[in-house]
């Protein structure tokens, strides 16, 4: 097989992430994705140009948004002949779109692409009750007025109540937080360790904003110029005062402070071949090296819902001949502080690594000063499908600043017991 060419991260653009019901309460997914896309187009001078493709997705999606990304492209400054498609892998969406377009670029099918995602917790779809929905569908399919009248007459008052949106796994009925509370308990993750990680996330993000790190990564939108959930002045002491919201009794350690808030936002990454970037005098931040996706059976309780990255990373390391310590930077998505800590604990556990992963020894610990150095989802917020694009762009820039050959690992857990992980390397 011919040596595949490199796919490189040229840059990225996102809008500041908002709190649910906050700055973007009136904005739809398409509005936010367009804002991020137009910002990216302006940043890299792509107005009126045709890009190889745009791949993006949203986790919470209205049925009218069946062609969300293509509709966004049509309303953007890009040439209308740019193809686009939607992709969805829960919180892994954003990173999966980058993997998808990077693979196409490496294969030579396209030379450039924009990848990422958007989510709105504010503008979430609300479904009508199942009884009403089925009656309306029957009425819609009816051929005679009588059939239609019969269908409509079958609607009962109780059918008129909307379907309550539930943030729970369909097969377990448990929310992600309830699942993670079980995992945190299993791994003995303390409240103190979670609050420390959460405080560090806010402090790191605040420092990065103050240093101007996001100046070429973020476009303001709706009068928001910084991430709305950021609390620069939070502290371990303040976080310790919050009451647990997930788990029960003595062992409940997860609070609103060390869990990601519901958020709104969009993030995109520009990926290209080195030649394409060079022709346009665009920077090349990092090379997309490789990626892996794993899934766990959380339904029978044999593994935690958010533990799949713990399985994906060792498979990726083995394929690349790397150890867990061969990285200059680590980006582990902070779905919950305890998710990051459970994953690290699993890699440090001899028992987990030998029995569950089938390795000879534990993967070991990482240098915690290299972890989420400019903050992560606890402070930035986590509009589900937007997180991957945010992390890829930030990490590529950080690696580029560190110099050629520096290497970064991305790990993102997702609903449905999946985990998407990838390696970037500065060029």
């Amino acid at each position: 097989m011919a040596q595949a060419r490199n796919a490189v991260i040229v840059g990225g653009n996102r809008i500041p992430f908002g709190k649910a019901g906050g700055a973007y309460a009136a904005a739809s997914n398409q509005d936010m994705l367009t804002a991020a896309l137009d910002g990216l187009v302006a940043r890299f001078g792509l107005a009126g140009q045709r890009v190889g493709e745009v791949a993006a997705g949203a986790v919470l999606k209205h049925s009218r948004d069946f062609n969300l990304t293509r509709e966004t492209v049509l309303g953007s400054a890009l040439d209308a002949t740019t193809p686009a498609y939607d992709l969805q892998q829960a919180c892994g969406t954003g990173l999966e779109t980058v993997i998808q377009v990077a693979n196409k670029i490496q294969l030579g099918q396209i030379d450039s692409a924009i990848a990422g995602g958007v989510d709105s917790a504010s503008d979430a779809p609300i479904a009508v009750g199942e009884g009403l929905r089925r009656a309306l569908l029957r009425a819609n399919h009816a051929r005679t007025a009588l059939q239609r009248a019969r269908a409509l007459a079958s609607i009962r008052p109780g059918d008129l109540a909307p379907e309550t949106p539930r943030n729970s796994e369909p097969r377990t009925g448990l929310s992600m937080g309830e699942h993670q509370a079980r995992t945190a308990r299993e791994w003995g993750i303390t409240r103190e360790a979670q609050d420390e990680l959460a405080a560090a996330s806010h402090h790191n993000l605040a420092r990065a904003w103050d240093e101007g790190f996001f100046d070429d990564l973020v476009t303001p939108f709706r009068r928001l110029s910084r991430d709305q959930g950021l609390r620069p002045d939070t502290s371990v002491e303040k976080l310790a005062a919050l009451s647990p919201v997930f788990g029960r009794g003595e062992g409940a350690t997860m609070t609103a402070g060390n869990s990601t808030p519901l958020s709104d936002g969009a993030a995109l990454v520009l990926v290209a071949s080195e030649e394409w970037a060079a022709e346009r005098n665009l920077p090349v931040l990092a090379r997309f090296v490789d990626a892996e996706v794993a899934a766990v059976d959380y339904v029978d309780g044999s593994e935690g819902l958010l533990m799949a990255p713990a399985y994906a990373v060792p498979r990726l390391l083995a394929r690349q001949g790397l150890s867990l310590q061969d990285f200059d930077l680590y980006e582990i998505h902070e779905a919950f502080a305890s998710t990051v800590l459970s994953t690290l604990a699993a890699w440090e556990s001899q028992e987990f690594c030998t029995e569950r992963l089938g390795l000879d020894a534990a993967l070991g610990s990482i240098d915690r000063s290299r972890l989420n150095v400019n903050g992560s989802s606890l402070a930035v917020g986590h509009p589900f499908a937007a997180t991957g694009g945010r992390i890829v762009a930030s990490l590529a820039k950080l690696l580029s600043e560190k110099g050629p050959g520096s290497r970064g690992l991305i790990s993102i857990c997702a609903a449905g017991g999946q985990g998407v992980v990838a390696i970037l390397e500065a060029v």
Partner: protein, 305 residues
């Protein structure tokens, strides 16, 4: 009409179509002297031949129970199809126990081969093994589904008539302690999930009516709080066979192509409520249980092999 069965030396009562459960219940409410000449079980088999399955009702059943709609049917659907024959037999004047008050305490069935919803099935039901048991009398209602001559499904539903206990047998709580010694491993505390159920099901107040509409089981204890109270329940209770079907739906992807499912119905599930479901591998099969959301009060235990 009544004709002698060719295969077994037992009479067959051949019905034109599946009887209406509502009418059978009404028939059973008429006071009458019950049982055969010596209080024995009717020794005939009630049968419907080459029944074409109702694909639309099957789709609705799949939705209400949480099954992915497939072209093959779960074992519990074949129980639903034979259930009217059971009720017809139990409502007959020569059945020794009164239908109102009979409690479905356990169920066991085997799917001998995958059955398509497009296959015509010959269904039959008979009663067997009338026996003193604990606080009353138990009887088994045997069911069978054939496609042509091939037996594709067999079932055994065990019913208890409370208070019909022969005077010389000792009294015993029929539902037993909350956690029986032989409870599946799934019931027991597992360090991984902290003894909490692995899934929660939120059951609406109208579930009994929804399941009645797709199963035909219009027993008033499942329909409205008022009718449930008339039979001594504080609220509407979920159909045991819905709970059973829901467990099989929850195990979808883990069920073998042919399997035997056995459940014991313990405390009834009052509606609306949130219940917990747990399962675990046990030997070559799966153990399962449905509890309250804390995992302590047991509604159903069972196994699939």
């Amino acid at each position: 009409m009544t004709v002698p069965a060719s295969a077994q030396d037992i009479e067959v009562e051949l019905l034109e179509e599946l009887p209406s459960i509502g009418r059978e219940i009404a028939r059973a409410l008429v006071p009458t002297r019950r049982g055969g000449p010596d209080g024995s079980l009717p020794d005939r088999r009630v049968m419907v031949t080459d029944l074409v399955q109702d694909a639309d009702r099957f789709a609705a059943y799949s939705r209400v129970c949480g099954f992915t709609l497939r072209d093959t049917v779960p074992a519990t659907w074949l129980h639903v199809l034979t259930f009217p024959l059971q009720v017809h037999l139990m409502a007959s004047a020569d059945f020794p126990l009164a239908l109102p008050g009979l409690v479905h305490v356990s169920n066991r069935m085997r799917l001998h081969r995958p059955v398509g919803v497009g296959e015509a099935v010959t269904l039959s039901s008979s009663a067997a093994d009338l026996r003193a048991h604990g606080s009353g009398t138990q009887v088994d209602l045997l069911g069978e589904a054939r496609v042509g001559d091939e037996v594709v499904w067999t079932g055994r539903s065990t019913y208890l008539a409370r208070g019909k206990r022969p005077s010389d047998s000792p009294a015993q709580d029929a539902t037993g302690p909350d956690l029986p010694k032989n409870a599946p491993e799934a019931v027991r505390t597992s360090p991984r999930n902290g003894g909490e159920p692995s899934a929660l099901w939120r059951l609406g107040g109208g579930l009994g009516r929804e399941y009645a509409a797709v199963s035909g089981d219009v027993n008033p204890i499942h329909l409205t709080p008022l009718t449930a109270r008339a039979f001594g329940f504080p609220r509407t209770i979920a159909h045991g066979m819905w709970v059973h079907a829901r467990t099989l739906a929850a195990l979808e992807g883990r069920l073998p192509a042919v399997y035997e499912a056995a459940v014991e119905f313990r405390k009834p599930v009052l509606l609306p409520s949130t219940v917990g479901f747990s399962f675990a591998r046990e030997g070559g099969g799966l153990g399962l249980c449905v509890t309250d959301r804390a995992g302590s009060r047991v509604h159903l235990t069972g196994s699939v092999t």
